[in-house]
């Protein structure tokens, strides 16, 4: 036991002469720590309205509210909602900051709010830019007025930090064949996730569903991703089939508008939604045996579909589930339409297409392949035979540049078609591809493969791409451009074709190009202008034109083609039911939409399926 005393405590008297330990608050204010978790601040420009903050909030203090002055931009992953805080519930844990994918939410060092009205405790945070009223400069700030709406500017506390984020910003890398190997053959470039990789990648999904609004066909993405995460590929595929009957195709070549909208995309990699769809489709070996979809009860109505492309296939599927009888006509020997002839084998093998097409066929859709409407069967006959007709004919004819001697050039779609379903084309050692879009990339990358197959170990092989657009403005996707570069394709951006130069014998010698001044005019219309004096000659003996494609309406008899109305952008005009200006004729796919991709074609088919159902029902009533 230590010694105790009565007198010892008097030593404390010395404290009378020391500085006081208390502060004369509020005249003396304490410095607030840099990580202080006070009131929220939200950068509306960065905020996407994804609602992850509301989802993670343990106290349900955050609610997403619609903001009238904002417009939703689903394709950019931007909602017109912003978080609203209820400080009667908030526990200032800061989980919302750590989960916020764009990093727009921050906690500040302000924490005073005194008010007689409890409603003021609910408020929608903004930041200094948006809300100059609330955030006061040092000069205008007074601690006597401090409240949620009277705060210091630039007074950030607990801030978003990628190092401590609660989500995983990095994508599971997709195993791919190396460029040096893959350019030697048509082997499928993407290997596909295995189970662990797919589940790990699916586990990154925050389920905010921005992607579902961005997807033209509104697939239930977060549901099927979650099914993959739970290791239920069949359930996942069934979810996909609710909206998309061509998962093997879309899992490989979808333009993945969803991934552009993914909230993880802002500070990390977007979720690999397309590859996960492919994983789900690849896991189920035999759709027919494992999926339990059944055609609807027969309605006795017949629908004829022209073109077995994505829109035609999807429509056939949706109508079949409604119980209608469906016949699909296509001039090709198999289904897929432009998808069958266009995308190269290294991106989309024929087996993947047939897997989807065969399953749709197994539901009772009658495919009439090798049958060209207008030649093997007349369009008018279809109108007579069927209760409704759908045109999903796609863009099947390539444009030509029409510069001098351009008739000697090869057209992109013919080239791709032969390589895919016909005989491989013979290519030269130096090839120029005109165009900067995805088709041009396909052509260039097929060319380099054919060159390596046809001239093994030749060092003089060269594939060049010429495009009007400069770097950064090329219409092709960044991934395509990157992969094309990896494979050794040379780019000549911002050059336009002037003339195809011929030698004495009339063979192609090269492409004379001129420098591009601008591609679009002031009104944003396509009207390229050039520096005529700046020229360069790209030497090659083969030139392929890949500058765009258009539909072929030659199957329509004159009395119908006159009646078919087009929009300003030269697209077939359809109403909200997908019906064209010709009664009972519906349309969709590339001839209707401007996206020119499979998933938008599916979206068109969904519209047309509902439109046709309504139309058939009305007809029945009459």
């Amino acid at each position: 036991m230590s010694k105790t005393s009565f007198l010892n405590p008097f030593k404390a008297i010395k404290y009378l002469f020391e500085k006081p330990q208390t502060l004369q608050y509020p005249f003396e204010v304490k410095e607030i720590a840099d990580r202080y978790r006070g009131f929220h601040k939200n950068d509306w420009d960065k905020c996407t309205g994804c609602g992850n903050c509301a989802d993670i909030c343990p106290n349900k203090a955050i609610e997403m509210v619609k903001i009238a002055e904002l417009t939703a931009k689903p394709e950019e992953g931007m909602k017109d909602e912003r978080p609203q805080l209820d400080y009667g519930r908030c526990c200032f844990c800061g989980l919302c900051v750590d989960i916020c994918p764009p990093g727009s939410l921050t906690l500040t060092k302000d924490f005073f709010h005194i008010h007689f009205d409890t409603n003021t405790f609910t408020f929608i945070p903004k930041d200094e830019k948006m809300d100059k009223e609330t955030y006061k400069s040092e000069k205008d700030y007074s601690i006597f007025q401090a409240s949620i709406t009277h705060r210091k500017e630039n007074y950030d506390g607990f801030s978003p930090d990628m190092q401590y984020a609660l989500f995983e910003p990095d994508r599971v890398e997709m195993p791919e064949i190396e460029p040096d190997v893959r350019k030697l053959s048509f082997i499928e470039q993407v290997i596909g996730y295995n189970k662990e990789e797919a589940r790990q990648e699916a586990g990154r999904c925050l389920e905010c569903k921005l992607c579902e609004e961005a997807c033209p066909a509104n697939l239930k993405i977060s549901d099927y991703i979650d099914a993959i995460y739970r290791d239920e590929p069949k359930e996942s595929l069934e979810k996909i089939y609710e909206d998309n009957p061509i998962p093997s195709i879309c899992g490989r070549i979808c333009m993945a508008h969803c991934e552009d909208a993914c909230s993880l995309h802002i500070r990390g990699d977007s979720l690999a939604i397309r590859w996960l769809k492919r994983y789900a489709a690849d896991q189920i070996k035999n759709f027919k045996e494992e999926l339990e979809l059944k055609p609807g009860t027969a309605t006795g109505k017949k629908v004829g579909i022209i073109g077995a492309g994505p829109s035609g296939l999807s429509l056939a599927y949706f109508l079949r589930l409604q119980g209608h009888e469906v016949v699909v006509y296509d001039e090709l020997p198999g289904g897929g339409g432009v998808i069958r002839t266009g995308p190269p084998i290294y991106r989309l093998p024929l087996e993947a297409i047939d897997k989807d097409v065969n399953y749709i066929g197994s539901l009772g859709v009658d495919f009439k392949f090798n049958t060209r409407v207008g030649k093997d069967i007349e369009f008018e006959q279809l109108l007579k035979d069927y209760d409704a007709v759908f045109m999903g004919i796609g863009n099947t004819v390539s444009f030509s540049t029409r510069v001098a001697n351009s008739e000697k050039c090869v057209l992109a779609l013919d080239f791709l078609k032969d390589n895919k379903i016909g005989e491989m084309r013979k290519v030269d050692k130096q090839v120029v591809v005109i165009g900067g879009g995805n088709v041009a990339m396909d052509v260039a990358r097929e060319t380099i493969r054919l060159q390596h197959l046809q001239y093994p170990d030749d060092k003089s092989l060269k594939t060049m791409v010429v495009s009007l657009e400069d770097w950064g403005k090329l219409p092709a996707t960044d991934v395509e451009i990157k992969e094309a570069k990896e494979e050794g394709i040379e780019f000549n951006p911002a050059w336009g074709p002037k003339e195809v130069v011929l030698d004495d014998k009339g063979n192609i010698k090269g492409l004379l190009c001129k420098k591009v001044k601008s591609v679009f005019d002031e009104n944003g219309r396509f009207a390229p202008s050039f520096y005529e004096e700046q020229e360069k000659l790209l030497e090659s003996s083969m030139i392929i034109e890949a500058i765009g494609q258009k539909p072929d309406f030659s199957f329509l008899p004159e009395n119908f083609s006159d009646k078919l109305k087009f929009t300003e952008r030269k697209k077939v005009k359809v109403d909200e039911n997908g019906m064209t200006s010709i009664p009972k004729v519906f349309a969709g796919g590339d001839i209707v939409n401007i996206n020119l991709d499979a998933v938008t074609a599916i979206a068109d088919a969904k519209v047309a399926a509902e439109g046709i159902a309504k139309f058939l029902l009305n007809n029945k009533n009459k």
Binding site: F6, Y36, F167, E168, G203, R204, C205, D226
Partner: protein
């Protein structure tokens, strides 16, 4: 003499927290005491069943107002054990330093309560001030002063800010430098000794039988400390002593608390010297919206400032705990030990004994 029933709390100046004791008294001697909790039941254990694994750590800290940190730690440890997550080395050290800071802050708070209760207002004021400058350090590290919400499943939420260690060491030196003054004014004060010695005696046998832990048990001479018995965080990396006394009374308990605080400060210095300079402070846990933990159960325990704190948690394979149950030291101290210790004591010592046992009522009602 006639027996009287006397209600002590929850509305009583001598009562700390929402707690009540029904006393049977004869004159001013207590014949029988009946602890009566239930004024602060917020249903934490049930609430935990409705929150995901990640949403729970901001909740559990609220079970103990005085020392929320060990609640966060025990929850995180339980989840880590269930899910098989390993905490990185630096994260473990930070946890230990954080918990020792919490121990000092909590003991200072206890000292305030105790000194205040006995009327030693000067010491109470110092204790509160020293706790406050330690809370400044917590604020700097975690962003909050009381509910730190800092230890997360997998590690800790943020690394030390730049220059934090220097400021922490300075703060601890500042507090440590006042130990002689505390001693002179309080611990070696004859008045304190007279008020505390022989009050609320719990013998070692009784303490063990009634499940006393922490300083209540240490004050009877038992060296019982989970940090030694079942080391967690980085406690196996440093050498430290477990202070004990033999009296088993309020006086011994208070001196144990003082020595425990001094030992904690020393331990923080040792941990700072030994901790790795760089490295991750947490292990990535799965996406909080999809995190499911395989079915199973776990029991983990740690040494909070009041003694052994345990958590039993069950997962049914879902995204939330199926059941969680805390074993808190105040439960034993506040119900069984307190009732025993009060028997035969004077009414004027009820608060004295209760606070010397360091009963935090919210821990009893979870």
């Amino acid at each position: 003499m006639r027996e009287l029933e006397l209600y002590f709390g929850p509305q009583h100046l001598g009562m700390v927290g929402n707690f009540s004791i029904t006393l049977k008294v004869e004159g001013d001697r207590i014949v029988k005491a009946d602890a009566n909790p239930g004024y602060l039941h917020r249903g934490f254990e049930k609430l935990m069943e409705q929150r995901t694994w990640m949403q729970n750590f901001p909740l559990v800290c609220r079970i103990n107002v005085v020392e929320p940190d060990h609640m966060e730690l025990i929850y995180s440890m339980a989840v880590e054990k269930l899910a098989g997550i390993e905490v990185p080395e630096r994260g473990k050290y930070i946890r230990s330093i954080f918990c020792e800071m919490a121990r000092v802050a909590s003991h200072l708070f206890g000292l305030w309560a105790y000194a205040n209760m006995l009327g030693f207002d000067t010491v109470a004021h110092w204790a509160m001030y020293h706790r406050d400058i330690l809370l400044d350090m917590f604020e700097e590290l975690t962003g909050a002063r009381v509910y730190h919400i800092y230890v997360r499943p997998g590690g800790v939420r943020r690394d030390f800010p730049d220059g934090f260690i220097d400021r922490l060491v300075k703060t601890l030196h500042k507090i440590g430098g006042k130990v002689p003054d505390y001693n002179a004014t309080f611990f070696e004060n004859r008045l304190f000794q007279k008020r505390a010695e022989g009050i609320g005696v719990v013998t070692r046998e009784e303490a063990i039988r009634m499940g006393a832990v922490g300083h209540t048990l240490k004050a009877t001479g038992m060296k019982y400390d989970i940090r030694k018995i079942e080391p967690y965080a980085a406690y196996d990396q440093v050498d430290f002593d477990i202070p004990t006394r033999t009296g088993g009374d309020a006086y011994s308990r208070l001196l144990t608390i003082r020595d425990d605080m001094i030992e904690s400060v020393h331990m923080i210095f040792k941990l700072i010297d030994k901790m790795p300079n760089k490295g991750e402070v947490y292990t990535k846990t799965p996406n909080p919206f999809k995190w499911k933990i395989p079915a199973g159960e776990a029991y983990v325990r740690c040494e909070s400032s009041r003694g052994e704190l345990g958590l039993y948690i069950v997962s049914d394979g879902g995204d939330k705990p199926y059941r969680a149950h805390f074993n808190t030291p105040s439960y034993n101290h506040g119900l069984t030990v307190l009732e025993k210790a009060l028997e035969g004591e004077s009414i004027s010592d009820v608060g004295n004994i209760m606070i010397s046992l360091y009963v935090v009522p919210p821990e009893i009602d979870r």
